[in-house]
Amino acid sequence: MIVAARLLRDRRRSTLWWVGGLLGLVGFTVALYPSIKGQASFDQVIADLPEGFKTLIGYEQGVPLTSPPGYLHARLFASLAPLVVLVFGIGAGAQAIGGSEDAGTLEPLLANPVTRRRVAAERYLAVVALLLVLVAVFTGALVAFGAPFGVLDGVALTGLLGACAGVFGIALLHASIAFAVGAATGRRGPAVAVATAIAVGGYLVQSLLSLTDALAPLRALTPWHWYLDRNMLADGPAVAAIVLPLVVSVPVVLAGWVAFRRRDLR
């Protein structure tokens, strides 16, 4: 695991910044909860909003925004938390092969006694490990900071862990896409572009197509639907949110891996 260890070491510093950002995000979000908690009028306002807008802000029928699961879902799990981890994952996935080939550092590495197969596999595993670290930090911070502000009251541990696993899943899938495109093309740009387009497109399909729309079945195809379909904090873990991204990631990464082994380096 020499190649993977080196990648983790190379990203040590930047990962610390991301960890710091996540800690800040979690701390800030949970600290605001006490000021929202008592505002029943808040739920009233939301109730009057159009349906599409409600999905957009992460509101779910029957889970008031002033309750801990409603609040955490809207403020973190349906918005910034997956976004931050996903952006990090796309960056790391695109960098792993595509970025290093762009920078010209991949070829000298491959002049050493390592196969392309090994370099790609180890670097992908390193990206997965980085995502795990980030999500673990996020989960730990939520548990540690959340309790004193009462934001975990009535949230089952399984629901919380399920939601965090969902964050990992959606980030992993997009990181895998970025990795695969980077590995297949040897470029960072297309890797970031394709993964971002899929993330943004999926999010728009999930949040803007209302249930009555003729295209609504398309929603089931987006990772965001798997992830957001249910408020896991309130209703417990959704298997689709955790399993489907892993299932889809496997062929995506394999395709990138095979393409990388077969093609010319740039």
Binding site: D10, G104, P108, A111, N112, P113, V114, L265
Partner: protein, 297 residues
């Protein structure tokens, strides 16, 4: 023991789309020799090296390195590669890089690495991004030889090195060769190759033009000699002198292009009052010229 072929290519061909980067290359490099690989920029030299290392895959033909394939890690463990432009993560220090590569190669000899750093006067603790071009070049050389490879693939090795370092580098290469290493030395300038190599291949537009001994090439090489004269510059004085292929007169000077030995030219010049002689380095382009224009002698 018959000398082993360290590099052998058969009909090695690489096209990039419509660009024919390399066409039907047949090459054999023997164990223990320094083999020069000459050609102008874009002739296909780097393409050849990248094919040998399996960075790119041949359109046709095959390449054998150390009896195996460049794709095989066991083969690459015995190869040292100095790319024309070595890209290193600018945050790495020299020791980061050597440490990383060393572990991939199953360990460097620390005494040898220390000696190399000392010989090339490198501070292993400085980030590569802060180093000058020349120093980065040195890092490239050190990483290429740190595992005492049996085969060195050098792509334009002395570009960016000052004369003192070029000398250091040549000493190092000679040492490694004395220890049995084989060197494949690619360059677009003859002087870089002729001090080290005994055999040279010349590549032109993706095709192998010739493989010849350096001495033979040097004999064939054309040189330009400018004679600044006290009297009138009369080209007739050199017409018909053996070796002279071209004479041009202008403003008290005669510009001669000489092929092979300059002996007869010097003798012919002795009859004139020569103020100054300017010679131009044997230019590889001129050597090529011979091969471009038609029949090599």
């Amino acid at each position: 023991m018959p000398s082993e072929r360290v590099i052998r290519t058969q009909g090695l061909t690489k096209h990039f789309g419509s660009v024919r980067a390399l066409e039907d290359l047949d090459l054999a490099v023997e164990q223990g020799e320094v083999f020069g690989y000459l050609g102008p920029n874009g002739a296909g030299k780097t393409t050849t090296i990248r094919l040998l290392l399996d960075f790119i895959r041949p359109t046709r033909g095959r390449a054998e390195v150390l009896g195996g394939s460049g794709a095989d890690p066991r083969v690459r463990a015995r190869v040292g590669y100095l790319p024309a432009e070595l890209s290193i993560d600018p945050r790495y220090t020299t020791s980061d890089l050597l440490d990383f590569y060393g572990r991939l190669r199953g360990g460097h000899d620390p005494g040898w690495v220390a000696e190399l750093l000392d010989r090339f006067d490198l501070d292993p603790g400085r980030p590569v991004g802060e180093l000058s071009t020349g120093n980065r070049r040195k890092v490239g050389i050190v990483q290429a030889v740190a595992h005492r490879p049996e085969l060195l693939l050098l792509d334009e090795p002395s570009s960016g090195l000052d004369p003192l370092l070029q000398h250091q580098f040549q000493l190092l290469v000679r040492e490694l060769v004395a220890d049995g290493a084989t060197v494949f030395l690619s360059s677009h300038v003859l002087p870089e190759v002729e001090v080290l190599a005994r055999r040279v291949a010349i590549l032109r537009a993706g095709r192998l033009v010739t493989v010849a001994g350096v001495d033979e090439l040097r004999r064939q090489a054309r040189q330009r000699i400018d004679l600044h004269l006290a009297g009138p510059a009369d080209p007739a004085a050199f017409l018909g002198v053996p070796g002279v292929v071209e004479v041009r007169a202008g403003d008290g000077t005669l510009q001669l292009v000489v092929e092979g030995s300059a002996d007869q030219v010097v003798k012919a010049a002795a009859r004139l009052e020569v103020l100054r002689v300017v010679t131009h380095d044997t230019n590889l382009e001129d050597v090529f010229l011979r091969y471009y224009q038609g029949e090599p002698a």
